[in-house]
Symmetry: C3
């Protein structure tokens, strides 16, 4: 009980590095926002009322009402979902939820700038509104996935620095995929999950700790920490339909994406329970699988969710994703640590990596099968540039005849196929190329950033005190008297990878 | 500490039964979905755009935007609300939240098929969209209520099998009530709560375990497990207004249902605290009451919530429900166990059973008092078949004169009274008959399903190891060293029924 | 282990006082609702359908769809946010979350009446709908802030009585500010946060307990209670944008308020981590700061959030708020206890008091800088009284010409400046006066209510058993064997104020 090493003996001191990093980053952000960022035409008092007047529009048609509920669901996934999912470690709950909080709060500001830069400036200014907020949260999600691979082994300074670089690379990759290659990836199977997972895994490889075994006894869960983690799991699971649909086109697109994701996740959950019991000792279930693999169905329909995947197609993909992911936790993770020296604390390769690639492949195949018969033809004509609500207003006001004005869903989902610029199979090829680009960016970027983070100047923990809150938090830790220690869950050799 | 019986000595082995059950069920589901299920006209790319074109409608009028926020609230109630409410047991948290997750993920898929079948096929196909998703979650809720009565005493295989049968019976009962009897029950006082509770209680009776006392020391809560349960309670309480209003008619109906439920729950909460303190030893409050009885107000306005119950009427009903429910936990549950041999782990009779019947009665009375004076007359005419938004569009486009076109709320709430097919008192009688039908279905169905579940082939736990995660989960359980054991809350004889 | 004083030896007995208080209050509420409260025109069956008919409106334009998602977010903040934020104490979790639940359930009913009375009766009746529900939740929030200052030291009877008085004073103060002084305060920097904090602090001063040191060992957190508290923190943080925007004007106003709050909170979080590490021993972070000070950014833009504060302005305000709040926890709270004898359990002065005043000042300055150039001019004319959607309908139907009909955002945010009744600087002065009025009401009201609560008839806890659930709850508390006791976080002298 007197063996308190928490407060006084630890070698790591954040007092200089963390305040400096936070203050410098935030001051830079404030200055850049002052110079570069403006309200968009739906947020700005003057512009919106000018819009109302010119288009005889209604306040109720402000996009806020059609995106904000989705945004809040995504927001919950980022802060509660990711945050609590990582609290499974017995003595790393403070760091899990609070560092998640810190790097997300930073990353969403920085992503606003980076994505704004790539998405197109308006007269030298970045315009922001609810859609940019959703995109910023998405980019943040990618950083948090990488955090999952590094959990317990990095200081908050390292994490902030990683976020600076990763957000930048994310925005670049996203720009290449969506704007140059004209790929579709509304739920981010490639841009968010594949990128975040492989970037994080490569960084973990570069930061490989040969002596990590010395902290092994803390790299496991206790009974109650697993329940906290389930809070994260359940929130991610419930709101994933909102995640995948948050920035798809309005109308049938959002509606369909939600439904595809809902059924994919349901099927994935049954697959996860089946596989977990099948491979568990004595047929027993493993909380690690339930907490993680049951979510793989959401990742795997991130690209194809907005397409006409059909409900049973979604379920088949979800079932497959849950199976792969659970088997990955059981058989692949131990191999990756031993052979590849990748210490992937949360197993992001199983939850985001493989299912992300699966999602990209499913997306490419589904895209290449798109036909006008399935997506509707929407017989052309005028007004295509106008948003549907403007068309509606125009129709009301001008009494134009009702012939063939509204776009088809093909235009919403595959604008280039609709416009005749691509064939469906070319769209499929571009989706496949996008996956390759994403993997390339993640690997190259991860190596570079990994070596930057390896410098011994960021107050990182020693190998002996990983997975331990006491190193960064004021908490009396007498490990001998740890209330949970006696009943803690001891994991066998090949189950250390939570 | 070395007395680990968790992993090796337990007789129950899921390795065969659980994977088989999950895989077979999911494969059947996928096949049936492939054959039978299609996107509805608001989710399908082609149909929705055809609709947009034909009716000159806007994407912003897709029902997604007017149902999905309610759906997500209901979804949270199903997965977080029910899931965490049941984590109160000291060593059954994994099973509570994860089996809830498993059977809900299965039941919502199966309910889509069963309800789709009864709600009417379209050319041999079931059409699905956000409303069918809400209904599937509702049906799932009923299964989870029954789960509450069996908590700690059944294997996941038994629970899945129960869900197969219960969903089928639920859909049948719902069809009889809403389509044949033309009863109203938007929040499911009868279809969801009464049915789920009495079905579960009868199953529990058939599965009566005379030796359950041997697991008695585990059938209680510890300090932190009660806090986890409060997460469930509070989410159920907050989102119950969304639950009761999720499938009522748009406009005043949803708005009113939300408000009635909000005030009913508030009054119920005060009644619960009053009664809990009144009957507690030394005037002390009991977490069991707060966790459960404070929710009875939502159950009790499940039928009448959409009617013109008035705010003070809602509060009176809520107050009564909280009182009945708390007294039920204190005085009725012990009697039910001793005399009727019904071991109701969560006390669903007090939370869903009696308040459900109360809700049915309040609904019948409120319906029989409906008048055109209160609900509005809505002077008839044309367009009745059209949904309000189509009326609106038509008006805009065709410049028809504005005389008497829109329906009254009477039509939304009581279409048969509005159409002159029933009198209000006949509606009341039909509501009462519906309650009787529901009870009959639950009792008969429960007996049959109970005996099916009694077969000794489902890896159920022995009487000595009920309420214990270690039997199905990989968790080192040295009961002697259980960290919570010393401070755990010992419940007196008549308080064992949480 | 046998030293159970929990159930039998404690002197406090609620059996008489709590049931009586709850029942009397609820019966009075039900009677007053029966006499005074009616559905408003969007909730009442008849009135809404009359409205639909007269204005040729659509059910989809019921305000329910544009306020209810915000309401639910606010509702989560009140019940989960405040409730779990206060569970940080090691043995006061039941009381924290459940008394929060009780007084909120009462206060929202009472606030409906008080605010309805001040907001204007309609023919002797109070009309209620989703907007009144949001306002009732806001008022409740103020009571819960005061609860934070008293946490662990008051009985539920005292808290209910405080709510009776505080809600009344809140509604009076709100009326003076918003209706008489024509101040703006959509997110309640003054009406909710400043009022609630200083009212609670004064009550805490009057109820000063010189012997509170005897309960000192319980006035601290344990590892898992800090994680429960983080649930509250994160929900408050995520949904604060909805809180500040819940009752602003539709369109750009809500959209802008959300965005300003989002960026203010993000910047605040970085400031909090920076300061916490800077002032912590060995550069270590303190969960108290993260749990609380990271939220100050939401408080500080409660008044100015709906104004054209700009994103970088919001970030600067948030950064300042996080800094002040963290330093307050570290340096000011100990002084306030020792010198001013204010025992502020949750440190509401740091989270709501100082940031509330900051928010009022920022609001006054921003208001005084308002110009027609920034907010738009909205060239006047007719229809101003009509809500935008009515304008829209009228336009559709009547084919009026489209000249200059829609209001400017200036009218939404500053109607008096728009109407030419005030200059911008006068608006600023009125905002400043409002702050002074609020502080005056809180101080005077707090003194009076404090002395009423000091009467020894409310079953309050003795100084020796504060911060202890066992006094009001059935929980076996053998303090010697408390499972968390050995590892609990011992706070140094100047860190006792969580």
């Amino acid at each position: 009980l007197t063996l308190c090493f928490g407060s006084y003996l630890l070698p790591t001191n954040l007092r200089l590095t963390l305040p400096l990093t936070c203050v410098i980053l935030e001051v830079i952000l404030i200055i850049l926002f002052a110079v570069l960022v403006e309200y968009d035409h739906e947020t700005d008092a003057k512009l919106w009322h000018k819009h109302l007047l010119q288009h005889n529009d209604s306040n109720y048609n402000n996009d806020f009402y059609y995106r904000y509920p989705s945004f809040q669901d995504v927001h919950v996934m980022i802060f509660v979902g990711f945050g609590f999912l990582m609290t499974f470690l017995q003595r790393y709950g403070f760091s899990s939820v609070a560092f998640n909080f810190l790097i997300a709060a930073f990353a969403l500001q920085w992503a606003t700038l980076m994505q704004g830069f790539f998405h197109g400036m308006h007269g030298g200014k970045i315009h922001i509104g609810v859609e940019s907020m959703i995109n910023a949260d998405f980019c943040t999600g990618s950083v948090l996935i990488s955090f999952g691979a590094l959990l317990g082994k990095t200081s908050p300074v390292q994490l902030l620095l990683m976020a600076v670089f990763e957000v930048t690379l994310f925005a670049t990759n996203e720009y290449i995929l969506l704007s140059i290659l004209q790929a579709k990836d509304a739920g981010g199977s490639m841009t968010i999950h594949t990128f975040g997972a492989y970037f994080g895994l490569v960084v973990a490889r570069v930061l490989y700790r040969p002596q990590l075994d010395k902290s092994k006894h803390k790299n496991c869960s206790v009974y109650h920490s697993d329940l906290f983690a389930m809070i994260g799991t359940i929130y991610l699971w419930m709101f994933w339909p909102s995640f995948n649909s948050a920035i798809t086109a309005h109308g049938d697109d959002q509606h369909r994406t939600v439904m595809n994701t809902y059924y994919s996740l349901a099927a994935c959950t049954l697959a996860t329970f089946a596989m977990s019991s099948l491979v568990g000792p004595g047929g027993k279930l493993d909380m690690v699988h339930i907490q993680n693999a049951a979510l793989a169905g959401g990742v795997a329909v991130g690209t194809a969710g907005e397409m006409m995947l059909t409900p049973f197609g979604s379920m088949a993909v979800g079932f497959l994703a849950g199976t792969i992911s659970t088997l990955g936790y059981k058989f692949l993770s131990p191999v990756m640590e031993k052979k590849l020296k990748i210490q992937d604390t949360c197993g992001v390769h199983n939850l985001h990596g493989m299912p992300g690639i699966l999602g990209a492949v499913v997306g490419a195949v589904t895209a290449s099968l798109a036909t006008r018969e399935v997506y509707g033809d929407g017989s052309v004509l005028a007004l295509r540039r106008l948003s549907p609500r403007r068309v509606y207003v125009s129709v009301c006001v001008q009494h134009v005849s009702l012939t063939s004005r509204l776009s088809s869903s093909m235009e919403d989902v595959f604008p280039e196929i609709y416009a005749g610029n691509f064939s469906a199979s070319e769209q499929g090829v571009r989706q496949a190329i996008s996956l390759a680009v994403t993997l390339g960016m993640a690997l190259v970027g991860g190596v570079i950033v990994g070596f930057i983070l390896k410098l011994p100047i960021y107050s990182g923990p020693p190998d002996t005190i990983c997975f331990e809150d006491a190193i960064y938090w004021e908490v009396l830790t007498a490990l001998i008297a740890l209330p949970f220690h006696p009943g803690m869950r001891q994991l066998s050799e090949n189950k250390k990878y939570l």
